[in-house]
């Protein structure tokens, strides 16, 4: 079998695995977030938290809880890093300096996992497991909870009650993220991912050299960092590191993990609004965009365009032999189509166009399928904009799932869409205005610009991957990228919750002959079109300066 054929089969197997999980996982998550009865262990948690599970919150209350929880998370994670030197299991590492600690605390709380540090040289076991990995769980749970609230907004009638944040957070963590992560972690250990409390093992190689072999609680973190679309590597080399992703099949498992929840949530959405076909339509939009993007990345990498790839005769710089080019390309596309940002190969060395598609994936707002929860709410906002545009075409008040998309709703949706481009483009522009920031670009010419563009696309969309040659650990970039991550996460969340509030208040309007059906191929095509056109109009000029100029030299 040729490398390309094997790659195509790999992608087909991945699609089959995801399709097989769509119903069972989507239905399971539906039951987790709708179950009336509170289990004993849940009640125990609520008592410890001091939450009243019976009271539901309106959107303002829910938003307040989300923000309070995230603010506390940032503060505690910052503190852990700063005092790491005096904590047990610090592995002898000193406290992290303030700018980097702030950047990292924001990064993990916002589900971004941008890493301006190298894991094996900065963070001890305690900060990794009890700090960073905890945020891998809870920031993912926050994302899913917010998506569920938006869906409740569509599903509920004439109410301001949208659920209880503490209940959603607890249940999603305990019953969705924990069990899947546990099983996945064991599977990864079986492949060779490590899970131990050894500091370092010193090996004397057959040629008499010394090699210091690292230890750590890697497998557990590897599972949740991908399942929760977080992406922060235990090691600098992330999932290219043999201790994180040892074999060709763990590579398959990891890609599956990072796609499975985002691709199954449309099913949960369909169940919650009582029309499974609506879920299929949203999943179809995500699937179409994802498939085109994956084909482009794998295609560009396999063609190996560009001077160095042609000299090498393959785009192998920054890629592992065991994975090969196509499987690395799928990983790269999947990690940027979701908000994951873990990598099994280094994007900076990708072909100009291959790397350009990765940047574009993030610019799409990570909706195909997007981060856990964030992908679904992003896609539902785009669907809302689509019914509005369709409504303009025929001159009717647009409605989606029985809810009128009026002035308030469309304002919130538009603001949601504008947040990340505003952050991304003004971040890049402001950075370029300061000459000292040019030193952070490793490569000369347009590729250096692509590195900076990638950094802001990644931070604003909470992805976390990087063109790794970019020197991001400077006061300016730690601060600017930190702000992009913060606003790129929480402004959209507030807008989505507000949208949910305003939708839930409405009484549904009955569907008539004039209602635009939102489960048919026409609608699917229109959402794809709206997504691509909006994003292309926003970002084409800046892409022309970076990856396009780089590839067309």
């Amino acid at each position: 079998m040729s490398e390309t054929t094997a790659g195509v089969v790999f992608i087909a197997a991945m699609i089959a695995a995801l399709a097989a999980s769509y119903k069972p996982l989507g239905d399971y998550m539906y039951r987790v977030v709708t179950r009336e009865h509170h289990r004993k262990v849940e009640r125990g948690v609520y008592r410890l938290i001091g939450a009243r599970p019976g009271t539901e919150q309106n959107w303002v209350g829910y938003a307040r809880s989300v923000l309070a929880f995230s603010a506390v998370s940032i503060a505690v994670l910052y503190l852990f890093q700063r005092v790491q030197g005096s904590l047990p299991f610090g592995n002898g590492f000193a406290g992290v300096e303030p700018g980097l600690a702030w950047n990292t605390a924001v990064s993990f709380t916002t589900n971004t996992n941008w890493q301006a540090y190298s894991g094996e040289a900065t963070m001890g076991v305690f900060v990794q497991a009890a700090g960073l990995a905890v945020q891998n769980f809870v920031s993912a749970a926050v994302g899913i909870a917010v998506a569920v609230v938006l869906v409740r907004g569509f599903a509920r009638k004439a109410t301001d009650k949208l659920g209880n944040f503490w209940v959603d957070l607890t249940r999603i963590t305990l019953w969705v993220l924990l069990p899947i992560s546990f099983v996945a972690a064991i599977v990864l250990v079986a492949g060779g991912a490590i899970q131990n409390l050894t500091d370092f093992t010193s090996a004397t190689t057959s040629t008499g050299d010394t090699q210091t072999i690292t230890g750590g609680l890697v497998a557990g973190q590897e599972a949740i960092k991908n399942l929760g679309t977080n992406g922060g590597g235990y090691y600098n080399a992330n999932a290219a590191h043999p201790f994180e992703n040892p074999t060709t099949w763990t590579n398959f498992v990891i890609i599956y993990l990072l796609l499975v929840i985002p691709f199954s949530l449309p099913r949960t959405f369909g169940r919650l609004v009582g029309q499974n076909r609506q879920g299929y339509a949203i999943a179809a939009v995500m699937g179409i965009i994802a498939l085109v993007s994956v084909s482009l990345v794998v295609g560009f990498e396999s063609f190996a365009n560009g001077t160095v790839p042609q000299a090498v005769t393959a785009a192998m710089e920054g890629k592992e032999v065991r994975f090969g080019v196509p499987d690395s390309g799928l990983f790269a596309a999947a990690t940027t189509l979701t908000s994951t940002g873990s990598v099994n190969s280094f994007h900076d060395s990708y072909t100009s166009f291959g790397g350009g598609v990765l940047i574009l994936n993030m610019m799409l707002g990570e909706v195909a399928p997007g981060g856990v929860g964030a992908g679904l709410y992003g896609m539902l906002v785009l669907a809302t904009i689509t019914v509005f545009i369709a409504g303009l075409m025929v001159g009717r008040t647009p409605e989606y799932l029985g809810k009128k998309i009026g002035a308030r709703e469309i304002k919130l949706a538009s603001l949601y869409f504008l947040v990340t481009p505003a952050l991304l483009l003004s971040g890049v522009a402001a950075s370029l205005a300061l000459p000292v920031n040019l030193d952070s670009m490793q490569d000369p010419g347009p590729h250096g610009f692509s590195e900076m563009l990638y950094a802001f696309a990644s931070a604003s969309n909470n992805n976390g991957s990087a063109f790794g040659g970019f020197g991001a650990n400077t006061p300016w970039f730690n601060t600017a990228l930190g702000l992009c991550m913060l606003f790129g996460r929480f402004l959209p969340i507030i807008l989505v919750l507000a949208l949910a509030g305003s939708l839930a208040k409405q009484k549904p309007v009955p569907a008539t002959a004039g209602t635009f059906p939102t489960h048919k191929p026409l609608f699917v095509g229109m959402v794809v079109g709206v997504t691509v056109i909006l994003v292309a109009l926003t970002f084409l000029p800046v892409l022309a300066l970076g990856p396009l100029a780089d590839g067309l030299q």
Partner: protein, 306 residues
């Protein structure tokens, strides 16, 4: 207790929630995975797939690549060579404390030449482009294995190969007649003559240290060479810097040298390589790969060095 203001009670609830979830996901969860990983069959892997010598000393991990070079970084000819590594720490390449990649881009083709007084090793600002690194490695491997090391876009007119890249000046900036051409990676003094004498009728100059060629159009020259004899993985660094594998093609290329160095039969070495080659899992996952660490250990066992 008096009622606290709402914003304080909110944050207290949040703090309590975080602490509870930290206990569950940050402490219980990793320890549960750790406990499960102690099961027989899993524990060796959870500990890092360590490989032991007969006396019980750790000689490495079968998952982490190693470099088989001497103190100067020169290849030890009796061992299969690993891929180039960017994980260069205090202990040399393949240092797990500094895993990582070059992160150099696909159009990184122009060297920053060193001050001639200081040389490559002495001048901190000097940097070899990715293209030049690829060309250097290719010719070095070619020489070591007795095959042609040439590849597209590589020039070997100097002491070591460099990227074949011209800086071309045009009469109208980026268009018009060629008025000047400089071989950007070949420093005057380091080469007798640039890799091509003429470009579009203009004589090609060598590159002068310190001169600004920013206005020139960077023009890589492909040159005429067929399919390179040195495989792709032998001239590129992996993403982790710890890749334990090489391609079967690169292993095959090394068989004859190993056989000669060890006084063994090439066929026997070949079958040893095959034993340490993993195919695609289920026939379609990943690429066939040869584990260099395990292969070299098996080599030492079967054909010990005197």
């Amino acid at each position: 207790m008096a009622r606290l203001p709402r914003w304080i009670s909110q944050h207290l609830a949040a703090l309590r929630a975080l602490l509870v979830l930290t206990a569950v996901t940050g402490i219980l969860y990793p320890l549960a995975v750790l406990a499960a990983a102690q099961l027989p069959g899993l524990n060796d892997r959870a500990d890092g797939s360590l490989v032991y010598a007969e006396d019980g000393a750790v000689v490495g991990s079968s998952l982490l690549g190693q470099s088989f070079t001497d103190d100067e970084g020169e290849a030890l000819l009796a061992y299969f060579q690993s891929r180039p590594s960017m994980a260069a720490g205090e202990a040399g390449d393949y240092d797990p404390l500094v895993s990582g990649a070059s992160n150099l881009g696909p159009e990184n083709v122009v060297d920053v030449l060193p001050d001639p007084g200081l040389g490559w090793d002495g001048d901190e600002n000097a940097a070899k482009s990715l293209l030049t690194q690829v060309c250097e490695r290719s010719f070095a491997v070619g020489e070591r294995e007795g095959v042609d090391g040439s590849r597209p876009y590589c020039a070997d007119s100097g002491e070591s190969a460099v990227g074949a890249v011209l800086g071309v000046f045009y009469s109208e900036g980026t268009t018009g007649e060629v008025v000047r051409a400089v071989s950007l990676n070949e420093a005057c003094g380091a080469v007798e003559a640039p890799f091509i004498a003429e470009y579009e009728g203009v004589q090609v100059e060598c590159a002068e240290y310190g001169e600004d060629y920013a206005k020139a159009l960077i023009t890589p020259v492909e040159g005429g060479s067929g399919e390179p004899a040195v495989p792709a993985d032998a001239v590129t660094a992996s993403g982790s810097g710890l890749d334990p594998h090489i391609s079967p093609e690169y292993a095959d290329l090394q068989v004859e040298r190993i056989a000669a160095e060890r006084g063994a039969d090439a066929g026997a070495i070949e079958s040893l390589v095959e034993e340490h080659t993993t195919g695609r899992f289920l026939g379609f996952m990943g690429e066939p790969a040869v584990n260099v660490v395990e292969l070299n250990l098996a080599l030492d066992e079967a054909y010990p060095l005197a």
